[in-house]
């Protein structure tokens, strides 16, 4: 599984980092999210799916 955060859509709600703190890094400046790495570790896939479901802006995509 790979994951991306659309920087145009992300508004820094931070819910993804609550679901998958090992996958999403929040900007120190404004809390906007980006994945540490595009490839999702196998043991983090469920957490990433939950992050996708909980993003208010629908900014996270997996492929």
């Amino acid at each position: 599984m790979k994951v991306r955060v659309d920087p145009e859509r992300c508004q820094g709600h931070t819910l993804c980092a609550m679901s998958a703190p090992k996958v999403f890094e929040l900007s120190e400046i404004d809390g906007h999210s980006s994945p540490f790495a595009e490839d999702v570790p196998t043991d983090q896939e469920d957490a990433v799916v939950e992050a996708v479901r909980s993003c208010p802006e629908r900014a996270i995509g997996v492929f």
């Binding site: 508004q11 709600h13 609550m18 120190e28 809390g31 939950e50 909980s54 208010p56 802006e57 629908r58």
Partner: protein
């Protein structure tokens, strides 16, 4: 809903509903009316307040959040642009009030403000303050813990957000009461109340103090959100002073009453569901985040925002004309059955909770990390120190109308008395003021990384 009129402008203003969120009965009818919206008209027209659209569905709100320049937040109080009336419906009378800070601006002006303020309010920035927040909450509970009685609004949930907001701004903590009264009473006092004259006077005193503070910080710089604003330039020019005052008033309004409202409602709900309270306390490592998001969804302290349509366009299947007014109901979208299973139930473990309590899009609540953190720290201390509290229905006062904030004026409770852990509030605020001054706690995260040290 009424029968469609297929002639003229009425043809596009369909379906039609009666919606008056300022009416006293709205609070009691909220769930029923929200179900009506979701069962057939998630985007509808109402004739109340000179007529405006109402968006109640999650899908519709997301479409509006992505509509970019088709929508405007502008409040053009001097009639210099297109005369738009900002985010309040009904709008304040012309010539009265001030622009509601950057929430009543559009980009790029709005973006300049948020860029300046974000490093004070990001998750990393707020995390540094946890020992400070904990000490204010500790002192509030200490003031009451020996008596076995507390009013969660007056004695805790009003105080902690107020003190912390002033600390971040760089305003002396001892002034919290000067700001507290107008921040709450200005929201819950009905316009025709005999109390209103006193509330207006308190509001004016707050505005005067904000203006004075701006001058003080210019003359004698000290860190904080005020300092960020006095250095703000937009296209190389300083903003109008009245816009800076408006921005600071927005930070007060956003920082005070909303978190109070969330905390009071959650504490009342947990008193009514003691089994869930015990579970939340025992499983806090896994439940505190999801429970917080669920309380945000269910209670949605700031129920919505207005917009003005800035060009003729189609959004979410409806046809809009430039100048149309629109109400985005974050509260109703948070009960959308298309997104939330059993939307009228509180589920502390709820997954996929993509609620809209902080809004959507570029105007997302800039203080969301403050709200979450302050709420969680107050809640944890209540669960740890007065875990058997019981709220008293008699004496509990919800806001009469919830058109602006779904809040509470009083929430008295009793509990088994306990022991104090430290000094009372007045002495604590003196200690914390010293910590702010000595450690520069109100610096942005770009300048100060270290956590506050509180003794």
């Amino acid at each position: 809903m009424t029968a469609p009129d297929t002639t003229g402008d009425d043809a596009r203003k369909q379906p039609r509903v009666h919606f008056d969120r300022h009416a006293p009965e709205y609070r009691d009818r909220f769930e029923e009316q929200t179900r009506e919206f979701h069962s057939g008209c998630p985007l509808a027209w109402t004739d109340t307040y000179d007529g405006h659209w109402v968006a109640a569905g999650n899908r519709e709100l997301l479409a509006f959040a992505r509509a970019g320049e088709k929508l405007s937040n502008d409040h053009d109080i001097h009639d210099e642009r297109r005369g738009y009336r900002g985010i309040s419906i009904p709008a304040p009378p012309r010539g009265r009030g001030i622009r509601g800070g950057f929430l009543e601006m559009d980009p790029p002006e709005q973006r300049a403000y948020r860029t300046a303020l974000n490093p004070y309010l990001s998750p990393a920035a707020v995390k540094r303050w946890i020992p400070f927040i904990d000490d204010v909450a500790r002192a509030c509970i200490d003031e009451k813990i020996e008596t076995g009685r507390i009013d969660f609004v007056d004695d805790l949930a009003n105080i902690v957000p107020a003190v912390f907001t002033l600390a971040m701004m760089g305003i002396p903590l001892k002034k919290w009461e000067l700001y507290n009264e107008p921040a709450h009473a200005g929201v819950y006092t009905p316009p025709h109340s005999p109390e209103m004259a006193r509330v207006v006077e308190a509001h004016m005193a707050m505005i005067r103090d904000i203006a004075t503070t701006l001058q003080e910080v210019r003359a004698h710089p000290r860190p904080g959100l005020v300092d960020a604003l006095v250095h703000l330039e937009i296209d190389g020019a300083a903003p109008r002073e009245e816009d800076l005052v408006g921005a600071l008033a927005l930070l007060i309004g956003g920082g005070f009453d909303t978190t109070t409202a969330l905390t009071a409602h959650a504490l009342e709900w947990l008193s009514q569901h003691p089994g869930e309270r015990t579970r939340l306390s025992g499983e806090r490592d896994t439940l505190l985040d999801t429970a917080t998001e669920e309380f945000l969804r269910y209670f949605t302290p700031a129920p919505g925002d207005g917009r003005t349509v800035a060009e003729d366009c189609e959004i979410a299947g409806a046809e809009f004309k430039e100048g149309d007014r629109l109400w985005l109901s974050w509260a109703m979208a948070n009960r959308d059955p298309q997104v939330f299973t059993d939307p009228d139930q509180v589920d502390l473990t709820r997954g996929g909770n993509r609620h809209t309590a902080f809004g959507l899009g570029i105007h997302r609540c800039i203080g969301s990390n403050v709200a979450r953190t302050v709420f969680k720290r107050m809640l944890l201390q209540v669960l740890d120190r007065i875990p058997d509290y019981v709220c008293e229905a008699e004496g509990t006062v919800h806001y009469e109308t919830i058109g602006v904030i779904q809040g509470m004026r009083h929430l008295p409770a009793t509990f088994t008395p306990g022991a104090r852990l430290g000094p009372g509030l007045a002495e604590t605020l003196e200690n914390l003021q010293q910590a702010c001054d000595e450690q520069g706690l109100a610096e942005p995260v770009t300048v100060r990384k270290a956590e506050a040290k509180i003794h």
